[in-house]
Amino acid sequence: MTRGESSMGNADKYAKVDRDILAAMEKPGRLYLAGLAVTGSLVVIGGILWAYQIRNGLGVAGYTHPVNWAIYITNFVFWVGIAHSGTLISAVLYLFRARYRTSFNRAAEAMTVFALMVAGLFPLIHLGRSWVFYYLIPYPTQRQLWVNFRSPLIWDVFAVGTYFTVSVVFFYVGMIPDFAIARRCKEGIRKKIYSALSLGWKGTERDWRHYAMLYLFLAAFATPLVASVHSVVSWDFAMSIVPGWHTTIFAPYFVAGAIFSGIAMVITLVVPLRKAMHLHEYITDDHFESIAKILLFTSLIVSYAYIVEFGLASYGGNIFEMESFRYRALGEFRYLTWAMIFCNSVVPLTLFAKRLRRNTTYLLVVSLLVNVGMWLERFVIIVTSLAHDYDPYVWGTYRPTYVEVGISLGSFGLFFMLYLLFVKNLPVLSITEIKEHL
């Protein structure tokens, strides 16, 4: 809080908050529209390529015989991972009553929801017969046949499905009071929409009582998901017998990785957001510093996991495991492996320096590198492990085709497009909470 305001009356303060934050939702500028156009076209391209792939079969992708999973699953894991930090910030930090949460939670929750929407596409994209995806859903059919609940993929369906639903609810509930405010400040059709979304929220003391309880419980429900969902995702690999996948540390390792990449993505999104919308008063450098600390911490966990992984392989004496990791570090994908280690383990170490933690531009750079690194991590784990497994006769390699690349870019396009739409149409900060903490 800067000095100027303390003199001003509460009502004005509150009004200012309303103004500042809803200001973000004013007419978009050229840059914004350009961004929308770019991301939009990426989405279209991705869609076309997907259609092409469905038409001609997965052969148009770069899959080979040993490497049956590749970029699509990489993207799936990556996006699910991104989602996690959103929940971490909005739910876990809420329970811990961490003040700086207020500046990030809305942005983070939005990120969670959109990331999951994108992630959810990839299992479908990677299916050999996408058109019968509903076989994966346990619903009563004339076949009288159900799904195999012993398969990790079905765990995925439930874990991710639940995660998505809960996140959406959480996201929406958080915004109900703000909608009430938005409708006050907006006119015309938008007013109508916001009124409807606000469900006619009045803010009587009864409302607030139930609301507080609801929010508390939603936070409580969401919190275990942070751990559970990515554990389940990690089990897609850990439950198999593929050397390089079948290891007990995967669950914690993946969860840490998820939060790591997610925090990075938050920074990637919020730094420009703050600049573009002049929200420096509400999102301060202190806040960034605290986030940066989480980034550093999770980075250390991930690096630890790398060390353990290689350690287990080299000391375990299991020739399959050893070969798998030799190949990972020295095989044809070695550059990606070392790039991953550089981005995820080396670069974040610089955040031990306070000055750098508080330098948002630097944070932005780091976060981008981490995003790259974490994507590479998933790719390396998936592809190298499959390329060299038990029977040397079938050892192979993998090169992505333009179809896979295009669809992946399309997914990024979709994510950022949704995000751009979000910042112009929904309050990017929790207005009521900010007032509460004035």
């Binding site: 059919t141 004339q142 076949r143 009288q144 046949l145």
Partner: protein
């Protein structure tokens, strides 16, 4: 409060009617079409009136996976002398003399990834009518059962027949 009750009632009514329509729709779908055959062979006369057993013409039903359409030889066995003046019989004789096999329109068909053996079912004591309905009563044969997996499986459940996928899926 009252409003909500009304709303719920309306919703319920709507739901029920949807179910009803869907059910009827399915019924119509399952009792399949009755294609016009190249020769209007009346099962009503042969299986019905004359009480001829199915096996008399569908000779392979007890020996093969496919029941098979009767070879014209069998038809001619009787129709060299019987009802030779009727139009349909003339068609038949023409086919026979010109050595043109008759291509019947399929009424029942299974996808090619399904293994089904008439022999096994007949030997297990399943009546023809169980699946094909009262053919004797049909002037033009009509599919009375949609051959979907659930339909097969239900019967297999009831009779305690194998439900291993590989029993039917090639």
């Amino acid at each position: 409060m009252k409003k909500t009750l009304v709303a719920i009632a309306a919703l319920g009514y709507f739901g029920v009617s949807v179910l009803l329509v869907a059910g009827l729709g399915y019924l119509w779908y399952s009792t399949g079409p009755a294609p016009v055959q190249p020769i209007a062979f009346p099962h009503t006369v042969h299986a019905g009136g004359l009480q001829m057993p199915c096996v008399y013409c569908h000779t392979f039903v007890e020996r093969s996976r496919s029941a098979g359409a009767p070879p014209l030889e069998i038809c001619m066995g009787c129709h060299r002398s019987i009802a030779t003046d009727r139009e349909e019989i003339r068609k038949l004789t023409r086919h026979y003399e010109e050595k043109r096999p008759i291509e019947w329109k399929r009424v029942y068909a299974l996808p090619d990834f399904i293994y089904f053996s008439h022999k096994r079912h007949v030997k297990a004591g399943v009546e023809c009518a169980t699946c094909h309905g009262d053919v004797a009563g049909m002037k033009r044969v009509r599919r009375v059962n949609e051959l979907v997996m659930g339909w097969c499986v239900s019967c297999h459940r009831v009779r305690g027949a194998s439900r291993d996928c590989a029993t039917c899926h090639k």
